[in-house]
């Protein structure tokens, strides 16, 4: 494609490998553009965009309290991001991290409470609790994985639907029943029963707990598994060409099961860590929808790199962390959600520059050689 501009012309060609400059410049320019759009909206609503942005940066990263708060919020986001990375790598579109995280929280708080009732706690209890979370997430994803692997049922819709089923289960356990999870002493204002103190994850400073490092280790493990194991290689091949994978003797149905369940396990672990590190109980008010969907966008912005998920998740978490602080200044905190959405849209759109090379060049004299324009690179 080309666009004549006087003596010059603008050509657009497909490219496989973008240059290093473009790889850096495209996301930066997209963020800048998104911030500019956001600034116009903030300004149009009668607020000071500069003030809003500096406050957001300050509330997200300025000082120990802000920074640890951001890292605590980033922890589940890293794990739902990883959940999306591993599935999307194989072009299995798991958009059910939300529900898998919720079921992970349900299982780990359930197991945590049961262990506490039976006098088991401490590190053993914590390990069992987190394992239950990961396991429940994997099984919940398995509900979509089985029909996907053996009946070819569209996993986009089934995983999406399962989010709301999981939400219903969690709400039922706390709001509509006197279950194992609910605190029986609070009849009018239902809350979840708290797990034993010995089951809380170790805290370092402020609210920062060991869960962050579990998430970082998970990212490292996934990076290694995708890069250096047979399983990772098969995920890559199956994602690129399921038919080639099938003909070379790979068990594609099992791969679908394992990838979706690993994906669910990451999200479920995230739910377990939220219970053990932040909430201490099953709290539907805190576990409402959001982290799972944001994790998908985080994974996309990280270009499906397990390690890339970490900085992106921290950045997105800093936004969320800045919300309450902005409200104090009289800036509606919802601007953060709007800005987040605009930035996501801009960065996702900016990916176009990674797949296409745009060049401004002097127009060649005389007729163009036939076929040059249409040739795909």
């Amino acid at each position: 494609m080309s666009l004549p501009l006087g003596a010059f012309e603008l050509t657009v060609e497909r490219q496989q490998i973008p240059s290093r400059l473009v790889r850096m410049a495209a996301p930066t320019a997209s963020v800048a553009f998104g911030l500019l759009v956001g600034a116009v909206i903030i300004w149009a609503s009668g607020q000071d965009p500069i003030l809003a942005y500096t406050e957001m940066a300050k509330k997200g990263f300025g000082g120990r309290l802000a920074l640890t708060g951001t890292l605590v919020l980033a922890t589940p986001l890293i794990l739902t991001g990883l959940a999306a990375v591993v599935a999307f790598r194989m072009k299995i579109w798991n958009i059910g991290a939300e529900g898998q995280l919720i079921l992970g929280a349900v299982a780990s708080s359930g197991v945590g409470l049961w262990l506490g009732d039976n006098g088991i706690g401490g590190p053993v209890g914590i390990v069992l609790m987190l394992a239950a979370g990961a396991g429940a997430g994997a099984l919940w994803a398995g509900l979509a994985a089985l029909p996907r692997a053996y009946l070819n049922t569209d996993e986009v819709i089934s995983t999406l639907m399962l989010n709301f089923v999981a939400l219903g289960i969690m709400n039922y356990l706390i709001f509509s029943s006197f279950s194992h999870w609910r605190d029986p002493s609070r009849a009018t204002f239902p809350v979840g029963r708290f797990v034993d103190d010995s089951m809380f994850l170790h805290r370092f400073t402020g609210r920062l707990h060991i869960g962050l490092f579990i998430a970082l280790a998970a990212a490292g493990a996934l990076w290694w598994a995708l890069r250096s194991t047979r399983w990772g290689f098969e995920v890559w091949v199956t994602g690129d060409s399921p038919r080639a994978a099938l003909y070379s003797g790979m068990r594609v149905d099992r791969k679908i099961l394992s990838v979706l369940m690993v994906s669910g396990a990451f999200a479920g672990l995230g739910g377990g860590i939220e219970v053990g590190g932040v909430l201490g109980n099953l709290d539907p008010r805190a576990l409402s929808l959001g982290v799972g969907f944001a994790g998908i966008v985080v994974a996309a912005l990280a270009r499906l790199s397990p390690l890339g998920v970490i900085p992106v998740a921290i950045l997105v978490a800093s936004f969320t962390n800045a919300k309450p602080g902005l409200q104090v200044l009289g800036i509606p905190s919802e601007i953060v959600t709007l800005l987040e959405g605009i930035l996501f849209l801009c960065i996702v759109g900016g990916e176009w520059f990674l797949r296409n090379a745009v060049r401004l060049q002097r127009r060649a004299a005389g007729p163009r050689p036939v076929g040059v324009e249409a040739a795909p690179s």
């Binding site: 049922t153 709301f164 996501f344």
Partner: protein, 315 residues
């Protein structure tokens, strides 16, 4: 007595089913063009909040609906630009649109000078038909007791069904959704088709959101759609991409929303949390049943090119 409780709850199922139907029907047209827009919830909120604002300024429901539809279409236009022109992953773009629409609605709704949360619409709709017809047994409350938006939604279902399966334009639309390369070779513009129907989908969501806020709740609250947009998205699959089935399914889903109250009045107690999850369970079950039966899968499955970006150069 029990009869009238049942009848009233069926009638209100039609009311709550209407925003689901409007948004779902729009999304159905979008998906028939091969574009999947997960952003229904965001477009409902984003379009609805502006439609609601219009209704607090000027007492005209048609105007509010038109404004809501227009803003919804603009939101969908963002998705169309990303999905069709820039060919990004439609799941990611759709989810980003949910976040954007939710943030936009919250921002507009809570800006200090407008404070939509405290505002009320300047008018509300009356049933179209007279008292005499509304008092007819059975069909009175069910068929003749509604406002014009409900009847418009019925008309839109008929138009959509006719358009999709009885007109050349509908054939072109389905061709773009099933096999864009072939559609392209016979001279149908894949890009234009996808843009137009994606924006029609956004208009449906915007109308649904406006009706929900202005007429059903007559107020704006944060997250007022409470998952109705996702139900509308599920509706498309549950209805097997067929408009008439969507009409029935929307009222089934609407009835499930109300069933909790009805059952309580009748003395039974099923928690609303369970009922709220039922539409999604039903959709999964329908999806699995359809995919397990090849004959049904051919007839009621998603358009083949759904969520696959089209490019003339890459096949």
């Amino acid at each position: 007595m029990n009869d009238s409780v049942l009848l009233l709850s069926l009638a209100s199922a039609i009311v709550i089913g209407t925003p689901i139907l409007l948004a779902g029907l729009g999304e159905m047209m979008t998906e028939h063009s091969g574009v999947m827009n997960l952003g229904v919830e965001g477009m409902m909120l984003g379009g609805g909040v502006v439609g609601f604002w219009m209704s607090t300024q000027y007492p005209s429901m048609p105007l509010a609906m038109a404004v809501g539809a227009g803003v919804g279409a603009l939101f969908a236009g963002i998705h169309a630009y990303l999905a069709v022109t820039l060919r990004v992953n439609q799941i990611v773009s759709g989810l980003a649109l949910v976040i954007t629409g939710t943030g936009f609605a919250g921002f507009v709704g809570s800006s200090n000078d407008s404070a939509l949360i405290y505002a009320r619409p300047k008018s509300s709709l009356e049933p179209v038909f007279g008292e005499g017809m509304q008092e007819l047994p059975l069909v009175g409350p069910l068929v003749f007791g509604h406002d014009w938006v409900v009847y418009m939604s019925w008309l839109l279902v008929a138009v959509a069904a006719f358009w999709l399966f009885r007109t050349r334009a509908g054939l072109a639309l389905r061709a773009v959704g099933e096999d864009p390369a072939t559609a392209d070779t016979v001279g149908i513009s894949v890009g234009v088709t996808r843009y137009v129907y994606t924006m029609i989908g956004g208009a449906g969501a915007g109308m649904g959101g406006t009706y929900l806020m202005v007429e059903i709740f007559a107020t704006y609250q944060h997250g007022i759609t409470a998952g109705l947009g996702w139900i509308a998205f599920a509706l498309v699959t549950f209805a097997g991409w067929r408009p008439w089935r969507a009409l029935v399914a929307a009222y089934v889903f609407g009835a499930l929303r109300n069933l909790g109250f009805t059952l309580q009045i009748l003395g039974a107690s099923v928690p609303s949390d369970v009922l709220n999850a039922l539409p999604f369970v039903l959709t999964i079950v329908a999806l699995i049943i359809i995919s397990a039966r090849p004959a049904a899968a051919r007839k009621y499955s998603a358009p083949s090119a759904l969520s696959i970006p089209y490019s003339r150069e890459i096949r």
